[in-house]
Subunit: 197 residues, 6 copies
């Protein structure tokens, strides 16, 4: 059958987009080798596009106590809880690449308790999932549990804010039926050496 | 007892904030007569503040098929489902003011099915709550149901995106234990005429 | 639009009611300045009316280790969990009046964990919500937790029985679509001094 | 091991009870051949005892469109949903006796969809379970569904009120750890003829 | 009304069954005095019949740290959680017979926390229910809790495997609408002495 | 870090296994190029091993209205609902191979509603998930819905029995913390042609 569309909504042509958005998309394409569909799908609404990626970058590309790999773990675990196909597949790929580990993304998406990660990372994901699924039940004890694992208050904001941002992102992807690029499914699964040979 | 803090995190002084953020806050104070705590609490992270309010404005202040009152209904109903005290109280107040109706916010926060709203608005809130609580189960039939009530595809994006944005907002408020301003509790409850007397 | 009815069922005229019921209703009106709708709605079934209010009074107007304010907190918190509009609004008003606090009812209805109440009261509401939503899971440890907060066994019966009685009350209100009186929405929100001026 | 107590709370001696309560208990004993524990357990609080049984009688012993067997079906089905041991066992026995059917109580307690009952009774129990577990979601369509099965509005009040009353009753039994009398377990299971032989 | 069928699917005649299956059924009939319906219903698919009972026997008839009574407790508790009428009734009967206790099966089916069983057995059933309803949340602490009650690792495999096998069995019974034999409802309820008289 | 064990329980050496089990394992290794861990892990209990694979083969290798690809879809979708890492990864691989489609397994594991499958297959998976998560709610209408998609009664038994069998399998894998072989993560993701080059 023909490839299904990447969104329920119209997907704009690059040529017709505002300059800043087109330039961001071209920069991503330059770096990744393809344009992740989330950029094309959200460009349907330029103002929301700008806010979405500004928020994303503020959380995912900042310095701090969480590594880039850990930030992506939070995305994959909470997207798994929200059954969001796009984010599981796309951020699963990014997590594999950052972690240089072809297995961890599928582990974290299915059940972080069985993943090959540290106890500190399991505590981080337990809290992220509480933010994702039962945020009104957050209590002081949750902060104490994370502090005991070495997380600062600012780290905890990061964990919670990433889980909160992807609560938004997962819902948008489910709303518009966002389709993951085929490239993401394989990315980071084959060791570099094997690919080079 | 002393008034509890408005956030688990440090709340910055206005004087020390970046100019654009301070100006936005002063403008809100000018218009509302007080500064809603969400502005002070999120100013702890200026980049996230800017993205948050850019996203908020893109969804809540745009033109379109949904009235401002209807947009606030979506906020209050989904914040009720997420047990988010700040958003129930603050956006409940805004909803009362926009709707010129002192009862509708409490109705929608508790149970939209019993609110004094139109069947079209009930369909809108049923979908918003599905986005808020079970977005992976969204199917084509949901779009058809809303279309039958006169909603365009762009209206449906608005409904879903507002529910998705407040999924983020509710989680942030629950994370930092954001406290509603006392002003919000009474706002819009007393008819204008009564206040004038 | 016209004011919606206060019940799905016929609401009797005062004149046609049995004497004891009419007198109770007139006494309430005398004291409160209006007749809360629950009296009119349940008068449709006089025998059930009598049992309902006898039960209510036995639990809410007795002496004991719980203050009247605390009893109303239990009602508001469990009615919030049951999404019962009538009880949230009507007992929220009573709670504000008893507590002389215009904020506590909205706090407790949304999320008792973030309310300005004591740790003892939070333990009380945690147990009340367990009775309301998962009573088969009650174990001896729950009694020990409450005893550690100073509650006697009789206090615990009170907490549980109030939660159990409003499990009934909330379901009846939802069944008949009971509408809160407009008076309740504002009651207790404006400080006395302000009202006097 | 020794027989466990029938309540977490003190159980009063018959001799020390108010006359009306002692007389009611003796009358039950006369009729049933034993005193169901609910009478002894609730007698710990005479005012609540009186209200409880007045309410019970108003719902369970009235005339109307529901047979006594059907009323007990509602009790058993909703008590099953609430995992209330006392009510499943005690009212299961009463249901077997009324229905002259040794199987229907266990069927209805486990899963009414598979019980040997009429489609009308299945619709009745589906609604009773909605009242028991999700009463805020009751909508006009539920009334229409029941009307199509021949239930009047007053019948629907009965169904809902019985489910609501046992929401209270189940929670009280779970709170005080009420123990079913051993007699109930066998009652109604052996056909009369067999017993006579 | 006529007795409903014991399965939604065709039930084979004994005469037409493969020899091994017919012999097993006749042996059961010899021992129990009747043929439990599960044998007739599953004989519709001989290969699945053989695997089902081989698995059943491997778990339920082996030696080990769990008594036969305890194994049946696991079946009844998890079948209660799965609302499986056939298994509650049939294995409830077997549990009564093994335990020589006419009450324990109804207790465990409704709420093991209130059953007349040992703390060790309550820990066993708490874990069995976790396997039945939330197996992905099993963590090392669960094994430690059971070890503290004296269960070996092999005992824990037994508990978990019985809960897992009846997860299958309950779903098959619900799928085909398997009807319990009337004999099971009374079995083990009447003390031997009474029956002899 | 060192590779974690493939089971919480001892994993037997091939040499010490009963002949029939060792031969089955060697045959699988011959065919697949490696031994899937489920064979080694379950060999800890030979009798359960034999019953498990006899059941598996009876359901997964039989002729009938469901293709092998469709049978694996049922496994992957229900294992996703049960958060079973081993089955998602191992049967995801098998599904990719059977379907000659590198994307469908991740789609079905996350959310079958968004998978590139036919409406008939979506109806099949909706029913399989009902068997997996709410089997007591199965009603005649479910059979009618599937019949309308062309499924025979025997096909429906297959769908339900596969979902039921993997309810067992998922729980065993979660109980023993079964680890997927690394080979499964990549299997079926790279088109043959690409691999040949």
């Amino acid at each position: 059958m023909a490839t299904p569309p990447i969104s329920r909504y119209p997907v704009p042509e690059l040529a017709g987009l505002p300059d800043d958005i087109r330039e961001r998309i071209l920069a991503v394409q330059q770096k990744a080798g393809f344009v992740p569909n989330v950029f094309l799908v959200l460009a349907h609404r330029p103002d929301e596009f700008r806010a979405f990626f500004a928020y994303h970058d503020a959380l995912m590309e900042k310095e701090g106590g969480l590594s880039k790999t850990e930030r992506e773990m939070i995305v994959v675990a909470t997207s798994g809880a929200n059954d969001c196909l796009y984010c599981i597949v796309a951020h699963g790929a990014i997590l594999r690449v950052y972690a240089k580990n072809p297995y961890v993304a599928d582990q974290v998406a299915a059940n972080y308790r069985k993943a090959d990660i540290t106890p500190r990372q399991k505590a981080m994901l337990a809290f992220a999932l509480k933010v994702a699924t039962a945020s009104s039940a957050i209590v002081d004890e949750d902060f104490a549990t994370l502090a005991a694992q070495g997380f600062s208050d600012e780290d905890i904001w990061d964990i919670g804010a990433i889980a909160a941002f992807f609560a938004l992102s997962n819902r948008m992807a489910n709303l518009v039926n966002m389709r993951p690029n085929e490239e993401f499914f394989l990315l980071g699964r084959v060791p570099r050496a094997a690919k080079a040979s």
